[in-house]
Symmetry: C2
Subunit: 431 residues, 2 copies
């Protein structure tokens, strides 16, 4: 059930909009308190029931999806965007399977992860608890709606979903089905609320409501994430750019270097954990670079190199300072020759974005220096940057990848949506 | 060594101030990177050496302190404030002992606290690492200078110290001694820098420098903390008010209830973990309240009660809604009678500040309901609220108590000044 102020044509008068947003946020807070007392079994039952309901009501979902597809022309969506938006029975089954997977995960909530019995007999437990209310802003893929709701409720947080308007009808249908099945398990429906207005000002209103909302997660372009981070009065888990590096050390195994560079750069070009920059130790650059650049060239990768790279290989065009800062998300790679592992580390800490950086080396000293000093969410040793991913790390479910250092870093799963409290059990102790 | 722009009379021209602040922050960042590669033993040796140096150079410290004391009149300090500012050989030894204690603690840095071997042979380690650079704004007690520096360096963070101007000379002397002993261990001096200007604008400059500073911790009045939180472009660990509750349940042991209420309220009036509000279950209020209020009255506590409390005991004056929200930090207690444990929980989540709340009860159901649903940093069961403290919890050292839920909650020790990174070790894996 959404708030009682109902939008007309997706628009709400400004005066009513703030009331509408506050009501949603307040309802989410109440629901989040109720979630703390539910048995975990009931949440897993709800997830499984929701999964089968999504499959049973596939026609209802696909009909709503056709409404979105029909509107996609006037919204100016590209063919690729329309394809990502489109749902069919197979894709709906995929969404349902995702919910079943989340049901099968262990819940982090309630875990006592530190405990000490003090000399006075007081037992001090550090217990994992939900954050409370999550405001989630995301792109227009309807599968994300179900996924985010499942992750939030499994970690016992209420969620306010602000999806892209392109998928409004599809997301509405999905949320209604999840809420209907919540009702049958006496799970508060307001634990999952969809913002039923395309009005951009709604986001601004929510970002002021830190008395109700404990965390905002924005997914989308960098401009959106910056705007949200600046305006939010509550914590934000941010995912800025991924300017990921592969450093080929003096003591690299040439075969591994080749495989890892090619895979990190070419496996998928437009993803955040793709390599954007290659650093090669000067001792091995003359032997390794020509082969590496040839293979990259065969994959259609354009090379922007520093002076030394350009000298060693005519395929390279001169790189600017800005090129070394860039997240290309494209068939372009910046390449530099470095005099030492320390120079590679300094380059990465200067130009990188703290996302994923890799060293290819068989030398334990170089590896230990690199892993200690590179200040990134994930440091890969002799493995592709493409492995920085919740699924690959075994998190089971992921709501985003944090490039922040505070609270959560790297892939964020169930545990990253929790906090802790101290529960101290005494027998009448006083100071 | 502080930055090269030297203040005159504690004032720097506005144009130079931003250069000065940026230089300090930049130097701190460089130092923080160097700290990641130091052996822990060297840091502990530095802590112990600094402790003995503080004791050996007690005359230098006390002379600087006399300069501060001499200025305290023109700064309008109260007698109590002057007393907190004053250093003598015994107090300096106390500071030194604090540093020795921190040397004896285990360092959290480098701990692999989660690890999994993935099916493809990739070893995924979650490793605890320092946050980087901490900007610490604190009140004018010179002992805090050494304490904060020790906690920061032990957790391998660089720290920028912005102490109260009342203790400027004392803090300067302490920091110089710590830096001198850092030099002998080749620990970067810029890991500990004192902001050498009383200019308030300096704080504003630092709060913009999120490219260098990873965390700000403001200690002081609520106005300062709010201003810092609003302006900071980096994460802030906040400590807002402590409106702590004791709830005496229907199934409370009357003796424990009496001891815990008296201790929570009367042990120290002006501290954040002192009780400010008492809730009593209606079933036991007629028997327990008169005795409780009598004992509180004997301790000079003024009672502000709801209607029922005023009806039961003539000592109580009527409480307003605002009184239930207040952190008195004084000999005043708000008191209400509640119909159920759920009503107590709802009252605390509505009026409380999420700091410390206590249930006195022998009933496991009531205890479990209360500990799950009360959304506070610490929930005490049959123990005084006064135990929410880093020392009492066995943290060994504490830099503040967080009333936030994000990243750190409750007392913040060494571990709360760290984050983690994923270090993944492969043998050439690609996707």
């Amino acid at each position: 059930m959404t708030a009682s102020v109902e939008p007309e044509n997706g628009r709400i008068a400004e005066t009513e909009l703030s009331v509408y947003c506050e009501q949603i946020a307040q309802q989410a807070k109440v629901a989040s308190r109720q979630l703390t007392s539910l048995e975990g079994q009931r949440i897993d039952d709800w997830l499984r029931k929701s999964a089968s309901q999504l499959e049973e009501q596939v026609d209802r979902i696909c009909e709503a999806n056709r409404t979105d597809i029909a509107r996609s022309g006037e919204l100016g969506l590209s063919d690729a965007q329309v394809d990502r938006l489109r749902l069919d029975p197979q894709r709906v089954s995929g969404i349902a399977d995702g919910m079943r997977n989340i049901a099968n995960l262990d819940s982090p909530v309630g875990e006592i992860f530190e405990s000490s019995l003090r000399p006075n007999g007081l037992l001090v437990n550090k217990v994992r608890v939900p954050l409370g209310v999550i405001f989630f802003i995301y792109e227009s893929r309807p599968n994300v709606t179900a996924d985010a709701a499942a992750i939030a409720i499994k970690s016992r947080n209420a969620i306010i979903l602000r999806g892209g308007k392109e998928a409004a009808s599809s997301s509405q249908a999905v949320v209604e089905i999840l809420q209907e099945s919540a009702r049958t398990f006496a799970i508060p429906e307001n634990a999952i609320q969809l913002v039923a207005t395309a009005d951009r000002d709604a986001v601004d209103h929510f970002l002021c409501l830190n008395q109700y909302i404990d965390l905002t997660i924005p997914r989308g372009g960098e401009a959106l994430i910056r705007r949200v981070s600046e305006q939010a009065t509550m914590p934000v888990i941010k995912h800025f750019s991924g300017n990921c590096h592969v450093y080929v050390d003096q003591f690299a195994d040439p075969g591994k270097a080749m495989d890892i560079v090619i895979n990190s750069k070419c496996h998928r070009l437009g993803v955040c954990n793709a390599a954007e920059s290659l650093l090669v130790h000067q001792q091995v650059a003359p032997q390794l670079l020509p082969d590496l650049l040839k293979r990259l060239g065969e994959q259609g990768i354009r090379i922007l190199g520093d002076e030394e790279v350009c000298r060693l290989d005519s395929r390279a065009e001169p790189a600017s300072e800005e090129d070394f800062r860039a997240e290309f998300l494209d068939a372009i790679l910046s390449v530099a020759v470095v005099p030492s592992v320390q120079a590679a580390i300094d380059h990465i800490n200067r130009y990188g974005s703290g996302h994923t950086d890799c060293i290819v080396s068989e030398n334990t000293l170089a590896i230990s220096q690199f892993t200690r000093q590179v200040d990134s969410a994930a440091v890969m040793v002799n493995a592709s940057t493409r492995f920085n991913d919740g699924g690959e790390f075994g998190l089971g479910a992921e709501i985003g990848i944090s490039t922040d250092k505070f609270h959560a870093r790297g892939p964020c799963g169930l545990k990253e949506l929790t906090t802790y409290k101290f529960i101290c059990v005494g027998q009448g102790q006083t100071r």
